[in-house]
C-alpha cells in the first residue's frame, strides 16, 4: 500500500461506492439505488436516513454521475447514470477496498 489509510475517509467513501456500484448495471432512480444496494448486499448495507441524496447530488456536481428527469405516467422521476469518470472512480475504489480488506485479513492472520 503506497499511502497510509485514512480510516474515516475510507468509511465515508463506502456510501459513494455503493451508489456507483448500483449504477453500474444501468440508469436508476433514487429509490431503485436504495433497494438495489440493500438487495445486492444481502441487507448488510442500507442507504438509510436520506444519505442517498446528498451522495448523489455531490457525485453529480463532481461529474461522476449525470441525471435527467424521466416522465412516467404523469409523474416525473430523476434518473441517474454513471459517466465515464464514474466508471473509472468505481474501479479505483473497488481496487482500494480490495487492497484494504486483504491487508486487514492478513493482519488478522486469516490469509497468508
Amino acid at each position: 500500500m503506497d499511502e497510509p489509510l485514512d480510516v474515516l475517509g475510507f468509511a465515508r467513501g463506502i456510501n459513494e461506492m455503493l451508489v456507483l456500484a448500483a449504477l453500474r448495471a444501468g440508469p436508476r432512480h433514487g429509490y431503485q439505488i436504495a433497494l438495489d444496494t440493500e438487495e445486492r448486499s444481502g441487507g448488510l448495507f442500507v442507504l438509510q436516513h436520506g444519505t442517498l441524496y446528498p451522495v448523489l447530488h455531490r457525485l453529480e456536481q463532481a461529474g461522476v454521475v449525470e441525471s435527467a428527469w424521466e416522465k412516467d405516467g404523469g409523474r416525473r422521476r430523476r434518473v441517474y447514470a454513471l459517466t465515464a469518470e464514474g466508471r473509472r472512480r468505481l474501479e479505483s475504489q473497488a481496487d482500494r477496498v480490495d487492497e484494504v480488506l486483504r491487508g486487514l485479513l492478513q493482519a488478522a492472520g486469516r490469509r497468508a
Binding site: L35, L47, H49, G50, L52, Y53, P54, R76, R77, R78
Partner: protein, 256 residues
C-alpha cells in the same frame, strides 16, 4: 401526494437556492411515492410499506445539512453562511446609522430631536429588511417558513414610524402653543416653523412606513411564491402545526 406533507415538514429548514429546493422536493416526494408503490406491489401492508419507504428515503436533518452544503452558492461557502450574512448586515446597518445621524445633525431644525425616534425606527427596519434580503437573495434561502418569519416586524416598524411622526407633530404644536400664549403678537414665525416641521415629520414618517410596508410586501410575496411552488410539486398543502399527529403521516397505524 401521499408523502407531500411529510417531505414539506421535513424540509422546512432546508436552506438552498429555490431551483435546487424544487428539484430536491420533487425528487424526494416522487421517489418515496414510487418506493411505496413498489413495496406495496410485493405484498407488504400499507403501514409496513410506508414504514420501509420512510426508513430508506425520508430526509433527516443531517442529510438536509449535507444537501444544503452541496447546493450552497460557491461564494457563500467561504467563511460559512452565518459569517457572510453577518458581515453584509453589519456593514449596511452601520452605513444606515451613520447616514441617519448625519441627516438629523445637518437638518438645522430646532425640532431635530423629534426626528430621532423615526430615524431609529428606520434604521431598525432597514436592518431587519437587509438581513432578510441577504438571506433570501444573497444566500438562497428558499424555505417559505423562514422567509415569512419576522416579516410582520416590518409592519410594527411602519406603525411605529407613523406613531412617532404624529407624536412629534402634536408635541411641537403643544410647545408652540405655549410660546404663542406668552407672546401672541409674534406668533406667526412660530406657527410657520411648526407647519414646516410638521410637514417634514409627516413626510419622513410616511416615507419610512411606506418603505417598511413595501419590504414586508416583498417578503410575503416571496414566501407565497415559494409556497405555490411547493404546492405544485407536492400537492395540496395542509398547513398544520408541527407535531400534530395527522392520520397516515406518522406511521401510527391510522394509515389511509
Amino acid at each position: 401526494m401521499r408523502f407531500g406533507a411529510r417531505v414539506r415538514a421535513a424540509t422546512d429548514g432546508l436552506s438552498v437556492p429555490p431551483r435546487a429546493r424544487v428539484r430536491i422536493l420533487e425528487e424526494l416526494a416522487g421517489d418515496l411515492e414510487d418506493l411505496y408503490a413498489a413495496l406495496r406491489a410485493t405484498g407488504l401492508s400499507e403501514r409496513e410499506a410506508r414504514r420501509r419507504a420512510e426508513r430508506l428515503l425520508a430526509p433527516r436533518p443531517e442529510a438536509l445539512n449535507a444537501l444544503a452544503g452541496v447546493h450552497r452558492p460557491v461564494w457563500a461557502r467561504f467563511g460559512g453562511t452565518g459569517a457572510v450574512e453577518r458581515g453584509f448586515v453589519a456593514l449596511l446597518f452601520g452605513g444606515m446609522v451613520w447616514l441617519s445621524w448625519m441627516a438629523v445633525a445637518r437638518a438645522g431644525l430646532r425640532t431635530g430631536m423629534l426626528f430621532v425616534p423615526i430615524a431609529a425606527i428606520a434604521v431598525a427596519g432597514a436592518g431587519l429588511a437587509l438581513r432578510k434580503a441577504v438571506r433570501i437573495w444573497g444566500l438562497g434561502e428558499s424555505s417559505p417558513a423562514p422567509v415569512r418569519a419576522g416579516a410582520g416586524d416590518l409592519l410594527v416598524a411602519a406603525t411605529g414610524a407613523l406613531f412617532a411622526a404624529c407624536f412629534g407633530i402634536v408635541f411641537e404644536l403643544w410647545r408652540v402653543a405655549g410660546t404663542v400664549e406668552g407672546a401672541p403678537d409674534g406668533a406667526l414665525p412660530y406657527v410657520t416653523e411648526w407647519l414646516r416641521a410638521s410637514v417634514a415629520l409627516a413626510a419622513t414618517g410616511i416615507g419610512v412606513a411606506l418603505l417598511c410596508g413595501l419590504a414586508w410586501l416583498a417578503f410575503v410575496q416571496r414566501a407565497a411564491v415559494l409556497e405555490r411552488a411547493e404546492r405544485r410539486i407536492l400537492g395540496p398543502v395542509l398547513h398544520v402545526h408541527r407535531g400534530l399527529d395527522l392520520p397516515g403521516e406518522s406511521g401510527n397505524g391510522r394509515d389511509r
